[in-house]
């Protein structure tokens, strides 16, 4: 995980998981001519998304949503089935500004879903949760030193702030698909190269614009 600031943590990111009960294998349904008609993207397929807005512990609010997009095509059996540029939505799970006593800012973001022709491909395990560098040591030192001289001086440590976290627009992060997702086997076309007219066919044969 890219460390944007001397971070203590990566929250949801490091959540390796053991049981993958809902992970479906990649599969395809064959047509009469032997070509695949449908393709299933298994749950927990690794993907890369890109944030399309600045987020930060000092500017974001818990519960806010933000735009994102698929940064690299999702591939099944070596074939791109969802193109880069597919739009999606993320959510600010937790945002807290840096505070007194040396507390660093906190920011936990989640990737909610990618949208294809009105259908939502649910996402999970976004690798973006940061805690800004804290100044606990400075605050504690000042507090303890102050306490040895004057109670009033001891309070200085309470006003020492930690650092804010900022995740700029364009940041890329790993995530995973949260559930198996079936779509038609039409070849994916990059939404970036196709401009505003992507051609991702869904399982009902519709075309996502």
């Amino acid at each position: 995980m890219a460390v944007l600031l001397p971070a203590l943590v990566s929250a949801r990111a490091q959540q390796a998981s053991a049981g993958i009960a809902d992970a479906a294998p990649a599969s395809s349904v064959q047509t009469a001519d032997g070509s695949a008609a449908e393709i299933t993207i298994p749950a927990l397929t690794p993907i890369v998304v890109e944030l399309l807005a600045d987020e930060g512990s000092g500017i974001s609010k818990s519960g806010d949503t933000f735009p994102l997009r698929l940064a690299e095509p999702i591939q099944v059996a070596g074939r791109a089935v969802i193109p880069a540029g597919t739009p999606g939505i993320g959510e600010v799970i937790h945002a807290k500004k840096s505070g007194g006593g040396g507390s660093g800012g906190e920011l936990i973001l989640a990737a909610d879903y990618l949208e294809l022709d009105g259908r939502h491909l649910p996402l999970r395990s976004l690798d973006l949760a940061e805690v800004g560098k804290n100044n606990y040591r400075t605050a504690d030192s000042l507090g303890l030193a102050g306490a040895a001289t004057s109670p009033a001086v001891a309070l200085i440590g309470m006003f020492i702030k930690g650092k804010q976290i900022t995740v700029p627009k364009g940041t890329r992060a790993a995530a995973k698909t949260a559930a198996a997702f079936t779509l038609s086997a039409a070849p994916a076309q990059s939404q970036e190269s196709a401009g505003d007219a992507p051609a991702v066919q869904n399982s009902t044969g519709g075309v996502t614009q």
């Binding site: 943590v9 049981g19 937790h94 949760a129």
Partner: protein, 159 residues
């Protein structure tokens, strides 16, 4: 499921540490390995390494329900499914998390300096950070745990 408080990290990466001890049965000086949560469920590890405010507990609550008191140098494993955790003394701090199935998240508690008493601060942490400090941590005593915390016997069954 969204939870108030803490962070996540892989129990698997903890397990990768040399000769880890199973949570609840940690040998002195050995890193603690937290068993993976039951399939389809997530879990949270609250821990508090040493530091200032040693005499103060970091009591984690969900609403008015106590999850556990996390003393200095202690840790506790909680099964989520609840949404609002908080710690408070003369000030309150809270943390909202999204704990997803099959994931273990880690939350660290720090007692900051306050006017009359220490101020608890809880923030997301990582498996790596937990692994680093876990050799010096002991599991919270069962009597100090509240609803939703896993006792040593619960963890032994999972491992």
């Amino acid at each position: 499921m969204k939870l108030s408080l803490v962070t996540a990290a892989a129990a698997a990466s903890i397990a990768a540490s040399a000769a880890p001890a199973v949570a609840g049965d940690a040998a002195k000086g050995a890193p603690v390995s937290v068993p993976a949560p039951p399939a389809g469920k997530g879990q949270i590890v609250f821990y508090r390494p040493g530091g200032t405010g040693m005499a103060m507990g970091c009591t984690v609550r969900e609403g008015e329900t106590k999850i556990s008191s996390v003393g200095n140098g202690k840790y506790v494993v909680a099964e989520p499914g609840k949404h609002d955790y908080a710690v408070r003394s003369e000030a309150k701090d809270s943390l909202t998390l999204l704990v997803e199935p099959d994931e273990t998240q880690f939350v660290r508690c720090k007692i900051k300096m306050g006017i009359m008493a220490g101020r608890p601060d809880i923030f997301p942490s990582s498996a790596d950070d937990f692994a680093k400090v876990s050799p010096k941590l002991k599991m919270v005593h069962d009597d100090d745990m509240g609803q939703g915390a896993l006792r040593s016997t619960d963890l032994a069954k999972k491992s």
